[in-house]
Amino acid sequence: VSAPLRRVEEWFAERGWSPFAFQREVWEAYRRGESGLIHAATGTGKTLAAWVAPLLEWLEENPRAAAATGKARRDRSPALRVLWITPLRALAADTLEAMRLPVERLGIPWSLEARTGDTPEAVKARQRRRLPTTLVTTPESLSLLLSRGDVGELFGDLRLVVVDEWHELMGTKRGVQTELALARVRALRPTVRTWGLSATIGNLDEALVTLLGAARPDGARIVRGVEPKRVIVDSLIPPEVERFPWAGHLGTQMLPQVLDAIEEGESAIVFTNTRSQTEIWYQAILAARPDWAGLIALHHGSLERKTRDWVEQGLREGRLRCVVATSSLDLGVDFSPVDRVLQIGSPKGVARLLQRAGRSGHRPGAMSRVTCVPTHVLELIEVAAVRDGIAAGAVESRTPVERPLDVLVQHLITAALGGGFVAEELLREVRGTRAFAGLRDDEWQWALEFVTSGGAALQAYPEYARVVERGGRYVVENAEIARRHRMSIGTIVADAHIAVQYLRGPRLGTVEESFIARMRPGDRFVFSGKPLEFVRVRDMKAWVRKARSTNGSIPRWMGSRLPLSGELAAALRRRLGEASRGDFRDPEMEAVRPILQVQASWSAIPTEHQLLIERVQSREGHHLYFFPFEGRLVHEGLAALFAYRISRLRPISFTMASNDYGLELLSPDAAPLEDALRAGLLAPSNLLDDVPASLNATEMARRQFREIARVSGLVFPGLPNAGKSARQLQASSGLIFDVFVRYDPDNPLVSQAHREVLERQLESSRLGRTLERLARADVVITTPRRTPPLAFPLLVDRTREKVSSEGLGDRVRRMQLALEREAG
């Protein structure tokens, strides 16, 4: 055992630990120059596995300096050696805290700092002069570093890049941004090692390749951490299911049982699926237990940083009885005192529920337990199904993103700013990433033209140029373009957000601009657990004052409707199949039995081999309900496809709704269902033509373009100090999309919008597989007189897509001005 390793072991021993075998494996592999991926449950020592490795390296290289103790002076600390990338700004501070301990105890004179959007300007200025030895940062801030002209020198002694929570990043465009940034870092500093930290997911091999690039510079390995704790999943079952409105949501009717469950433990986290649910449950708990004021809190990503810090600190110290939270608390360091986790609403996926369950039971010998609270009676079936999924080890995969050209365009400008690039060299580098391994020559050429001349269609516009070629190198010369690019690098995640602030008082957090846009002065809403009255919007802020009463709308945030995972959907179909044969094992199934019996007597419970279609006529028109049970995204695609195929038989207008169980097509006149089925409504053939055509009929691609436009720099966030000239360059991405579709329909960004809807939104491969399954299924058509339980949630769903084969004029003649309240 080397001297440095002995000192590390001593430090472990002081804390009553000894290094795990997987930690030693990582340290040894790192020492040999290898890169890799570590997967383990949260709170099992992943961070130390990655972090101690470069510390050991330094101790070996500096045997004498290591004898010194105490904090080093920042300006004399070694140059940047470790980059630690974290997906959430919120995690940076915690991670830093955890990393500081061994450094101080081992007397290593390193400086450790975070750099995120939250970092104070003074610290950023200091970092512009000199980076710390270890920098904890986000993918966006890493891209910003790469846009600096002196980036080569900055990374001169970089040894290690760690990507924390890689499973969270890799299925997203931020993951691609990270892939490109890592490729850049490796090009600047070929000896650098890369280690990823991940929860256990279904496709770890793919995660490793995505992290390291197709080339795999050194040996690479997947290191498996400590076995996860045993997980218990149970439910709070409504006492008399029959008396609950199976038609709609239970709302907070389960509150008494939830309060009991919270009281059973010392400290609880109540997870919800949306930020608005968080606000609703927080209000409900506080109203029922006013004496808990100060002991309960809420936590979601839109709240002000300071509020979130206070809450996390409270959890760590065991000061808080209960925190109501969204996925903002899914990740990160441990809250050891937490001994009770509740999940309000559908678990949505096996991995997700496991992750949340893992937030409890960190005390020795404890098990992880998560208690599901249905917000809709049918969700009890999902709880039974998720338990099956856990037992079968059916953990979901994260599908990496393929060739997002908007991210590539952004990266080209970043590289042009960061010292410039030579086209062939950068192409080789970009193709070395998993995301762009299949980048075609014409796509690369287009991206290059897009940032230089604006693309082939724009050659008549010499006034446009973001990047220029100077002696074989592509660089940015225009300072205004540089400034705007740096401002928009960080916007991949964020939709247009607006700060909420008291007229005379502090900021409370941010909400989506679309929510505030619907507000009128005097309107009330609840945010950050406080009843507020909207006063006005000025200077990019929504100004509010305290409202006396709490009745008011709760902000709805976009992107919060996570679909049911494929794994969970399959387990759900099996559970329904069992129910159709009279098998109601487990308390959850027993509890929903009366409702499923109503479903069976009014219509039918589909087996695994059936497709149930219900036709119902109501005051609103003619409803067709299809139940493939494949998750909301697939259903959105099927709804568009079915509506399109039927509308080709004769002029008809549909509005569609989708949820995790099925989809609804609603039309003023009866749809020719039988004709359509005979004509191949469910056929998996012609998908390549029919799916894009059905997408064009909806607005899905237009909406998807929002993100593409933002990432590729077609729209940029409002600049705080922008003058009139900048404001005149603002247009909605929808308008820009329309201009492209009309005047440059072959633009790759437009094709990308379609591709993203297909691949990411509608999970097209899943869509194809679903159709193959449905084409083989026995179609069961029922015509219930009233809407049966499975269809009811669709009936009341208000978010709708539309497809029509009638003329707009004909349609408009039957329409009226919408009621004001519907206008949102």
Binding site: A460, S653, P668, L817
Partner: protein, 226 residues
């Protein structure tokens, strides 16, 4: 002169035609009104580093050309926001404007200046459009960009880019540009295609006409369900 999709409107004792091409025609004076053309908007974006394909201004001008020919207007009044921004006064935009103007030599053209015109500047003199500040009084009408407040004469104006949301059977919904007809005047929809919309709240006594599928259609407020 009246097309099958046009809708007539009695306003201040005069007959006006609301046109599906998003203009208003006043037959008695052979005058065509359009608002908010925002010529050169995409060019201004390009100049600012936002790559948009060309074609919006050219297409808008040919739409306007077709409209002038269809109505046989002798006069064309732009109700403000003629050019979008000073950055959009590119040689190609100005050239297209001049060529277009030359094809309609006999049509008298007036611009009632709006907020964008103040920064973007008047069209160059060779385009031959007379520019005046609002309101331009043409009894019985007051022509303006921003809808005037107070008891002005009956106004024709733009600026708001009015739009409405519609709903129909089977939960059908649409959002469309509209003519907003109030007891005090008419707000025209924006003529330029690369322009947005703002929802208007039609009060009692207001009428709303949408341009849909080649026709101007009046839409009714829904009876308050209660």
């Amino acid at each position: 002169v009246i097309g099958s999709g046009d809708t007539s409107l009695q306003a201040a004792g005069e007959l006006l035609l609301l046109l599906p091409e998003r203009g208003v025609f006043w037959p008695a004076a052979a005058t065509l009104f359009v608002a908010d053309t925002h010529w050169g908007k995409a060019a201004a974006f390009r100049a600012g580093g936002v790559p948009l394909p060309p074609g919006t201004t050219l297409n808008g001008l040919s739409r306007l050309e077709a409209l002038v020919e269809r109505t046989r207007a002798r006069r064309l009044v732009f109700l403000g926001d003629f050019l979008h921004a000073v950055e959009g006064r590119t040689p190609s935009v100005l050239k297209r404007l001049a060529e277009w103007r030359a094809r309609h030599e006999l049509v008298d053209m007036v611009l009632v200046r709006g907020n964008h015109d103040r920064r973007a500047g008047d069209p160059p003199p060779e385009v031959g459009i007379r520019c005046v500040d609002a309101p331009l009084l043409e009894p019985p009408f007051a022509l303006a960009h921003h809808p005037p407040s107070g008891q002005a004469p009956y106004f024709l104006a733009g600026h708001l880019h009015p739009g409405v949301r519609l709903s129909g059977p089977g939960r059908q919904r649409e959002r469309l540009a509209c003519f907003w007809v109030t007891p005090r005047g008419v707000v025209l929809p924006a003529f330029g295609e690369f322009t947005g919309m703002a929802d208007v709240r039609a009060g009692p006594g207001d009428r709303v006409f949408v341009a849909a599928g080649g026709a101007v259609v009046e839409v009714q407020p829904r009876a308050q369900a209660r």
